[in-house]
Symmetry: C2
Subunit: 137 residues, 2 copies
């Protein structure tokens, strides 16, 4: 109960059905019935997936006539990307443009600044590996 925001977002993304729902919402808002149609799954199951997505802030919902529309909210995806961006240096060789992207993403993600438990007793990391040329003069 009451896990942090990033965990909730990653948790919501850890399900292929929910990722597929988000992908479809990228093309426009959809009703529950339309979202449920492609899946071999009952309508209540989809409703619960939508509830999880809503809880993570990944969708918002509105009513139009008899139908309940789901709308993609991408901000939490930005926060997740911002957290991941810190690791780009570990798989990427071209830092030049990416350092700027990383800095900009972190600047823009001020809403949820990619928090983490910040362990109390960090055992004075004597290693600090790599630290490859990130000093473009």
């Amino acid at each position: 109960m009451n896990v942090d925001q990033l965990s909730t977002v990653f948790g919501a993304l850890a399900d292929p059905t929910r990722r597929a729902i988000l992908a479809r919402l990228a093309d426009g808002d959809l009703a529950v019935r339309d979202l449920a149609a492609p899946f071999p799954m009952s309508q209540p199951a989809i409703s619960r997936h939508l509830k999880v997505l809503e809880g993570a802030g990944l969708i918002s919902r509105s009513r139009r006539a008899t139908v309940r529309l789901s709308h993609l909210e991408a901000a939490p995806l930005r926060d997740a990307t911002s957290w991941l961006a810190r690791y780009q240096a570990y798989w990427e060789e071209r830092y030049d443009q990416l350092d700027e992207l990383l800095a900009r993403l972190q600047r823009e993600a001020t809403a949820t600044p990619a928090q983490q438990p910040t362990p109390s007793k960090a055992p004075k990391s004597k290693k600090r590996k790599k630290q490859r040329g990130r000093n473009r003069s």
Copy 2:
């Protein structure tokens, strides 16, 4: 069981302890005992977290003397970022540089091409919202 790779990676990231472990491994390989020290949690609990991370391909492990070292493997993080990159257009206004980043990330993430269930019976999306100026001439 046997969920897809992306789900496993996002699932591994959906825990603050595991994210903190990854963050510390970014500074260099560490032994289990060093990883466990900051957390108010038993050593077997950390061992299980490491097993989850290893199952997601996010760390690899080796032996050095009596100690078992964990090493950060960032490739799955790249795949996750690649999946998220598709949504950058939904929170970002400057497409110019980002379209290139997106294209490059997807090109490079050929190992796990951000798969998804690809729902069989897509209900002929009559909406296709926004589709904002992504055609820089």
